[in-house]
Amino acid sequence: MTDLVIETQELTKRYGAIAAVDRLSLQVPRGGVFGLLGPNGSGKSTTIGMLLGLVRPTSGRFRLFGQDVTSAPEASLKRIGAVVETPAFYPYMSGRANLRYFQALHGRGRPDEIDRLLDLVDLSGRANSKFSTYSLGMKQRLGIAYVLLGDPELVFLDEPTNGLDPAGMAEVRDLIRTLAADGRTVLLSSHLLHEVEQVCASVAILFRGRLIAQGRVKDLLSRQGGALRLRTTDDRQASTILAILPWVLGVEPQGEYLRVSAPLDRAWEITAALADKGVYLIEMVHEHVSLEAYFMEVTGETSAMPVGTHQ
């Protein structure tokens, strides 16, 4: 049985007639980066708010670290570091003073931890400046330092790359990978699909407050099937040969290619079946289904997203 750090059962939050989160049953395994993916307003922050005790669920239950803490999640917060939406700190205090305050509030961590974290997020040079003078990127980095105070087992990062330039975003993604490599569980909430795809091993997709899909990214994409594009010495005959294979879901000509819907791990059987009948491959390309395309498909969103390819 998988060790779950977060498990929700039919978790619901309603504001009047509107369900911000609707019967969410989420399972986050221990270790690695778990993506909570969804457009703005899909219920990501509300879900995180409920797990952190900031928002009272209307119904449903949840477990953190295997314990049902629906009515009193505060008990688990010692093991969690979290930033919800934009990091908010005391504007009249320096970054260092803010971290000192929150370290004392948490009651964990050594004095030198603050310097180490400020170094980690590259804020040592501005540690004594008032928070109100920080750029959005610096605020995000201070937020990450804050999250890591007390060396938490579970980290919630809500849109951590908001306001960062491309280099800053890349740095934060590297940092997130590092955190997970240290054995922590990172719950990354984001509406940026490529960001989630780059750093998350598993995802849950939320849409209009409901869970649309969850699982390992690789599994979700392969479950979606993917496709192979072929060029052969005789496309017409190849079409006939492949169409009768039971695990081939479809074959359709597409320009000078044949598009074959079939699992990638059975590609070798395609080459064997064709060669058996004297038809030979000139080219075989795997059409990679991106998380973005997958998201569009499962949420029923209509905007056409390009499907990336790789060999």
């Binding site: 708010g49 952190l52 005790g53 900031l54 928002v55 009272r56 505060e74 008990a75 917060l77 010692k78 969690i80 979290a82 930033v83 919800v84 939406e85 934009t86 990091p87 908010a88 700190f89 005391y90 504007p91 009249y92 205090m93 003073a97 000192r100 305050y101 929150f102 004392a104 509030l105 948490h106 804050y146 919630f156």
Partner: protein
């Protein structure tokens, strides 16, 4: 648990002492209380120098347009040279009686002034200002200390560190109660220092009243002044938590303070039955408890000290309880401003 709350109160102080606002409020409180000491001192000096002057006549009765200024002290000593030569003996006798009354009244007034700038009466006088000035400043401090957590969105950042909601609010409330007590101690110290100076300036021949307040009276007045602040601390905390805004906390806290006095003054004139209701209103009891002035003074009997004590206690518990209840139950969202 109590240790944790005290630790959270200490951490509140870690934050609050870095803000300019509490220091500005303290300076304002000190300015007002110092004004009471020095204002009384200068008034005493001015009145003492003019003491015993009586103006007789006017309109040219004694040939002088503005009347004749009589030195009562000289008249009472038997020196009648300041009286107009044309003065009828009967009027002269009346002038002597007037001088006697005037000097007696002025001695009483000076005695009251003397109490206001010398120890320990000056401290009692400073404490009489606390239910008004101190209350206004405490409303501002409470609303700001509680409300900024909503405005800046830091409440979320704090709560996810797991201090516990009621413990966090309790830390704030305890700190505010302690700070208000500390502010009163600072006022006592500053008033004492000023009073020693003014006392030395007036010298030993000053016109001191027959009875001066004791240090015990002063201690009781100080504790009563502090106790009268607590219901407003609870009221402001409740409103600020309920609305999630410092501005609302300040506005409603102050509006209630002044509003109740105005409403009570009007309704006491209109309805007899309102006398009974007024006995249970917050500000009416604060005024009765602290011995301060009220717009409705004289229109109804003020409650007794015991009655006021329990009414203020009830307000503190109920409003404080509501503040904690709201704080524990409400969802915490992002920054709200104000």
């Amino acid at each position: 648990m109590m240790v944790k709350v005290l630790w959270l109160a200490w951490l509140e102080w870690f934050k609050l002492r870095r803000r300019l606002m509490p220091w500005v409020l303290l300076v304002i409180l000190l300015l007002f209380t110092q004004l009471a000491v020095w204002g009384s001192f200068f008034a005493y000096e001015r009145q003492q120098s003019n003491m015993g002057s009586l103006v007789l006549g006017g309109g040219g009765v004694f040939g002088q347009r503005g009347g004749v200024r009589i030195d009562c002290n000289a008249v009472l000593r038997g020196d009648l040279s300041s009286l107009p030569s044309s003065l009828e003996p009967v009027i002269g006798l009346g002038a002597v009686q007037q001088c006697n009354q005037l000097i007696q009244r002025q001695r009483q007034a000076l005695g009251e002034l003397y109490k206001s700038f010398t120890l320990p009466g000056s401290i009692s006088r400073a404490m009489e200002m606390v239910p008004v000035i101190g209350m206004i400043l405490l409303v501002i401090l409470t609303a700001s200390t509680v409300g900024v957590e909503y405005g800046w969105g830091t409440l979320r950042t704090v709560l996810v560190r797991g201090p516990g909601r009621w413990q966090f609010l309790a830390g704030k409330v305890i700190l505010l109660a302690v700070l208000s007590l500390a502010a009163l101690a600072i006022v006592v110290a500053a008033t004492s220092a000023s009073s020693l100076v003014t006392q030395s300036l007036v010298g030993p021949d000053a016109l001191a009243p027959a009875t001066l307040p004791t240090w015990q009276d002063v201690g009781i007045a100080s504790i009563k002044a502090w106790y009268s602040l607590l219901p407003f601390l609870a009221l402001t905390a409740f409103v600020t938590v309920a609305t999630g805004s410092s501005a609302s906390g300040i506005a409603i806290g102050l509006a209630y303070f002044f509003g109740e006095q105005i409403v009570v003054a009007i309704l006491l004139n209109l309805f007899d039955w309102f006398d009974t209701l007024a006995q249970y209103l917050l500000e009416w009891n604060v005024t009765a408890w602290g011995g301060g002035l009220s717009l409705a003074a004289g229109r109804a009997d003020p409650p007794s000290d015991t009655h006021a004590f329990f009414v203020l206690l009830a307000y503190t518990i109920v409003l404080g309880g509501l503040a904690f209840w709201f704080f524990a139950r409400r969802d915490v969202t992002g920054p709200r401003g104000g």
